[in-house]
Amino acid sequence: MISRRTLLRGAGVGALVVAVPVPALAAEGLVPNVFVRLDDAGRITATVPRPDTGQGVRTVVALMVAEELAVQAGDVSLEQAPGDTERFGSQAVANSTSVRQLSTPIRTAAATARCLLVTAAAQRWRVPVAECTARDGFVCHPRRGKLPYRALVRAAAALDPATVPVELTPPEKWRLLGKTRGGRVDARDVVTGRTRYGIDARPPGGLVAVVARPPWIGAVPDTVDDTATRALPGVVDVLTLTAPADGQGGVAVIARSTHQALRGRDALRITWRGGTPTADSRAWLADLRAALPAQAPIAGVQQVYSMPLLAHAPMEPMNATAHVRPDGVTIWAPTQDPGGLRTQLARQLGVPAASVRVEATASGGAFGRRIEPDPVLEAVACSRRAGAPVQVLWTRADDMRNDSYRPMSVHRMSAEIGSDGLPVRRAHEVVTWPLTVLPFFANPALIKASGDHFPYTVPGEVSVVVRPAPLRTGFWRSVYAGQFVYAEENFLSEIGRRSGLDQVALRRSLLPAGSRLHKVLDAVADRAHWTRPPAPGTSRGVACLEEYGSAIAVIAVAEPGSRKVLRVHAAVDVGVALHPSGVRAQVEGCVVDALSTVLGAQITVREGAVAESSFGDYRWARIGQTPDIDVTIVRSDAPLGGLGELAYPPAAAAIASAIAGDTPVTSMPFGTAVG
């Protein structure tokens, strides 16, 4: 056993947890910490500190609390934490950290409540604590019978937690965590339409705003004639938004309903100035290629890979609702970082953080886009003007054309090949753009750290040249690893093809024996029956990645002739998979992202503007293009790993290699002009 304080200190946000006064007043039930409480009726409520953007963090929190309190997941009511980093620590959904960083604090929080209840029962029965166990909402004793939690809440709340040792339930005793059965805790709300996303926030008296956005990149309003707009029914006000304080800038029309706001926007007459009205993404790609040094560092095998712009395009378009009052601000937003958003708003508005409330709603996808605050800043500006709650809604075209895109990049790979056909030395030269939404991401070392995870025992160098970004760029699932790994794995496949080597055997020989990657590669090769020759007309691709504390290997099977992907197998090691269905879901999602971006989804810029406007021309995969996806979970002793972004880079590489068959891959999308 370890003391509760020791445990919490090791929990990452430990100091914040123990800073909460314990025990709380008995009248409030048992409130041992910010994450878990029991009321006098014994009802359990857990607070989920990070937003659920589809990664399933609410389900994992419910499972962790139910596991430690010896109840079912359905017995735990969930509350979504508002933004408050002082109470909850980092609340950012980023870098595949949600479950990794919450596991110890949440489980410890629930185990603390259980140990207090068990101790209270033992004292009442005057028996040793070790003879008592928690089960199904009761504390049980072999001779004394059982007491429901509700009968113990007050006594437990009166205990000094410092005197009660806390022990986490060991994995071999888990009933819920790590088990295959059981889905999302919010599933019933989802399939009945009851889940409230940001777009569903409807504060009383609320108005709706849409924003006329720049018709080309970087344009700002010069003259605005809103006469016709203001004459329309339902239009309340028109205001010019100025970047960066008010978001990305434009002209907002505030109205009583969405349709009236959209009609009001159509009636605006705006002239624009500035920006880059002739920009073209084909020229941007040419600029990146021209920035490669004249000669590759290695004169052997060479290949250049071109990577496109990608948009996030979550199903729920950007939106935010704000209510600015004299005494404070309330925000309802699908955000990846409610805590950081609150801190930023307080600083920007010059008000105490305590007067800013950020409600993190359910989020209809995020993929990195909702780490940015721009829709919220627009809503704040509109609400301040209107003196009422205002929801700013982005249309799909607004979203597609004003995103923070994944940067274009060019990768020149070169390698020296040994007599056995394997690479003995390699070089990877990258030319790309920074992430403009986070200025310090212009540092080449940081870009390299984000992208470079080459796991094979081939010495070499990775160099990064950063060119100025010609439009907004941001964090897109897997960030730079999406581009780097695609180039590296496709190049390794190219070397294997030229040397006539088996793609799995070649990778095996370049991975340390006994490594996590070696094991998942073996597992996926087994699942894909790798040693059998592929069926006539089919081809296979392989790729690996170890990152976010996890390891994955992917094998894709495709028909190069029809460009049809038939099957994708993945084997993944996240240490212990707390919610196996959720683990599979994250891999499946990454595989569909990979499929989409390899088969043709890309953003292009013509005459200064993003050409794509919706799902008709941003060609995301549909159900009929989606192969069967087979995910094997490989358990290991490694600490809990992250997963949300792990599978995208290797899945994209494996799928491209499979579709390419006997031809080299040189771009994403495969076989399509980039830019």
């Binding site: 599933a187 409807r202 729920e316 990454c590 992202d593 549909r622």
Partner: protein, 156 residues
């Protein structure tokens, strides 16, 4: 502005809007049926899929005026208790990730099964072709439609 009488989820609802207002915004803004999701507004993504006279339809490309005298069912009215076979199958197979597209997927699947109780993969893929899921839940959707078909057969 004009008054339109709509029949939504078995109830008669009167709304006072411009006739060209998309049905999507009538349902969401006027009637508070926020389970009908906005995804594209131009009939390309399927997030708002509902039933009009029993068939799958896109409220974002129909108007209030078009919709008078039609029978509209939204996700909120698909079943009394959330236990339509499609909804049960979606839960059993843990289909949803973010869930935003799923009301539309569920409504498209329910309309398919109402006219074709035992669809093959090609029929499933045809019926759900224009329902985009950005989280990539397609393999589970395919399995869940088959599962719902089986539930309906077993309970017939």
């Amino acid at each position: 502005m004009a008054r339109y009488l709509l029949r939504v989820n078995g109830e008669r609802r009167e709304v006072d809007v411009d006739g060209d207002t998309p049905l999507l915004w009538v349902l969401r803004d006027e009637l508070g049926l926020t389970g009908v999701k906005y995804g594209c507004g131009v009939g390309l993504c399927g997030a708002c899929t509902s039933h009009v006279d029993g068939a799958a339809a896109r409220p974002c490309v129909r108007t209030a005026a078009d919709s008078a005298q039609t029978r509209i069912t939204t996700i909120e009215g698909l079943s009394r208790d959330g236990d339509h076979p499609v909804q049960r199958a979606w839960r059993e197979l843990d289909v949803a990730q973010c869930g935003y597209c799923q009301p539309g997927q569920v409504m498209a699947a329910a309309a398919l099964l109402a006219r074709d109780p035992d669809p093959d993969d090609a029929a499933i893929e045809e019926a759900l072709r224009d329902n985009v899921c950005r989280c990539g839940s397609y393999p589970r959707i395919r399995d869940a439609v088959r599962r719902a078909s089986r539930i309906m057969r077993e309970e017939r």
